[in-house]
Amino acid sequence: MARYILQRLGYMIITLFIIATVSFFLMKLMPGSPLGAAQEKLSESQLEIVLDKYGLNDPIPVQYYTYMKNLVQGDLGVSFQFDNREVTGILLDRFGPSLQLGLQALILGSVIGILFGLIAAVYHNGVIDFTSTIIAVLGTSIPSFVFAGLLQYYIGVKLEWLPVATWDGFEYSILPTIALAIFPLATSARFMRTEMVEVLGSDFITTARAKGVGKFGVVFKHGLRNALIPLITIMGPMAVSLLTGTLVIEKIFGVPGIGDQFVNSITQNDYPIIMGTTLFFAFFFILVILIIDILYGIVDPRIRLTGGDK
């Protein structure tokens, strides 16, 4: 196991290196200039001076070398759009709210979703099954900005139960959490139901039932564990996308998160931030996948974790 994890960590560094390289060159392909509206006002020679300052006039291999050298030293450079501000600092600043929202939404969504799925599977094809299916389907079929907007309007403005927007303490995070949780809820409910229906139909469940284990005992003791595998597969990338922020929710609820920052830096051509965020996301993603693969082994011993060579 330890060897396996070490090996994977090794791969991780290689993967990150490749991602850094690929996205660096992709970045150079991106059209537009990072200088923004200000450059409209500059003459050719003035523009050169500013480009020189940011090192954007060097040949691309030189820029690449410089970037990678700094990267190894943990330096992601300084932002173009926020004059002189360190990318690392910006990322850390803005990751906090996204992480909090994402975790809250993930926990809320998956716990309720798994419960929904379980109940629906136990009462397969019954009224409860149908209701939870409808809720789950609605959850995935209403665009998140519509749902978020309605939540904000009715709960925040009409009922005044919760603050409308901005980020100023736990109560400010409730509405965006709910808005964000609807998708993991719906997804996990559906996958859970599908898997549980299947698991509950298998022989070992029948055997267990025959041995006199109670209905819910079976569900929790034998069913849940077997149904979790595909759920983990789907929840992993979802966790990453939740934890790394979502533009729409962050924008609507005025959350100073990383998703909003990322899209913003893409439209502003702020290369250092795009690169930094990309690498950060990639790191996070690979880490989560590693954790999932380890979880596979724990949840289902039938899957053997194998290194490159047996």
């Binding site: 290689i14 993967t15 970045m27 665009p143 299947e198 533009l247 899209v263």
Partner: protein, 383 residues
């Protein structure tokens, strides 16, 4: 005598042909896997209703736009933002299809509220009716009046009907909604199809062969997923131009990894199970094991995942228009219509409601149908 007897009896017996093979023949009609699946699908009411609904929506998407005299691009600013009005349904008030806009106004007195109501609808006194909900006692926001404005009458267009109303440029939303549905469905199907082909093949191979191949293939996926979709999307759209095909391609290129991971996970689980091992011991080639044992067993997950790919493709397209990279105007899609309508949620809700309901119905139908298919395909579910 004996011979005679034999002769006499001969006519009573006919010799059968000696045919051992036919003895073994099973006379029950053979049903293939697919026929079987469809038979059980037909018994699933919800799935069949969904199928019918989807077919109706697809037909409407193809022909709905031609059902009235308007087209999807002609603008007329004097017709802008008109509420929906439908022949026959215009007298059923709660449906909201009577061609009126209404606004609930709170003020300190009924008069003040009415005055604001008049201003709200451009002081078109003749066509505004007031419904006083609460008289008020002079304190702030105590009086409540519902002002209703007959938009069609005020424009002298009593005999005109926009079934879904019009948008901010005076275009008929009925036509635009159905044409938008067509585009959205097309993008979603195309993206899902590309997704499915690449994802299943990749995930299947990776999971089945395992070992070094799996390792390399998974690292490649990690790299691809590690690069944020948006960067790739923006690049592709800028290079290929923002069209239907480039959006679908961009969606598929960034989306197939999810499918691949699910298929791989499932194949990984299945390939060491007894029935696969048995088949392998009996000498079945890899191709046969994959196509006969693995694919049918992961089919349900593939179908469900595809059912999720379709809405996410439709939504992602909407998201693209949200950040200004969507379809080129004046082409509409459900995503752009919802995005546009959302801005007038509290003022002209009709612009949002129809495409939003349609998108939800499409999603529900796909999901229920997907459920039905899953149940039908899964041998364990068959009774």
């Amino acid at each position: 005598m004996a011979d005679d007897n034999k002769k006499n009896l001969d006519h009573l017996f006919v010799l059968t042909e000696d045919n051992q093979q036919s003895n073994e023949k099973i006379n029950r009609p053979v049903t293939t896997f697919l026929q079987d699946a469809f038979r059980s699908l037909r018994r699933n009411v919800a799935a069949m209703i969904s199928l019918v609904v989807l077919i109706i929506i697809i037909v409407m998407a193809a022909f709905g736009g031609q059902m009235n005299e308007y087209d999807s691009t002609t603008q007329n600013l004097s017709w802008a933002k008109m509420p929906p009005k439908v022949q026959g349904l215009e007298n059923i008030g709660w449906l909201g299809l009577d061609g009126t806009d209404s606004e609930t106004i709170e003020a300190s007195t009924v008069e003040a509220a009415k005055e604001r109501g008049l201003a709200r609808f451009k002081n078109d006194e003749e066509h505004i009716t007031f419904d006083v909900k609460s008289e008020g006692d002079g304190t702030e926001d105590s009086a409540k009046v519902v002002a209703t404005h007959d938009v069609y009458a005020s424009k002298d267009m009593e005999d005109t009907y926009f079934w879904f109303g019009t948008d901010g440029l005076g275009r008929d939303l009925w036509t635009r909604t159905w044409e938008g549905t067509r585009i959205s469905l097309f993008i979603a199907f195309l993206a899902a199809a590309i997704d499915l082909v690449i994802g299943v093949a990749y995930g299947g191979i990776s999971g089945y062969y395992g070992g070094r191949a799996d390792n390399v293939m998974q690292r490649i996926i990690e790299i691809i997923t590690g690069i944020p979709n948006l960067v790739v999307l923006i690049l592709m759209i800028i290079i290929m131009g923002s069209g239907i095909v480039s959006i679908s391609l961009a969606l598929a290129i960034t989306g197939w990894t999810g499918m691949a991971r699910i298929v791989r996970g499932e194949v990984l689980k299945l390939k060491n199970q007894e029935f696969v091992l048995a088949s392998r011991t009996l000498g079945a080639p890899n191709g046969r094991i994959i196509s006969r044992h693995l694919i049918p067993n992961v089919a349900s997950l593939i179908i469900i995942n595809t059912m999720f790919t379709i809405p996410s493709a439709i939504f992602f397209e909407a998201f693209l228009s949200f950040i200004g990279l969507g379809l080129q105007p004046p082409t509409a899609s459900l995503g752009t219509l919802i995005d546009d309508g959302f801005k007038s949620l509290t003022t002209y809700p009709h612009m949002l409601i129809f495409p939003a309901i349609l998108i939800s119905v499409i999603m529900i139908a796909f999901n229920l149908l997907g459920d039905g298919l899953r149940d039908a395909f899964d041998p364990k579910m068959r009774k």
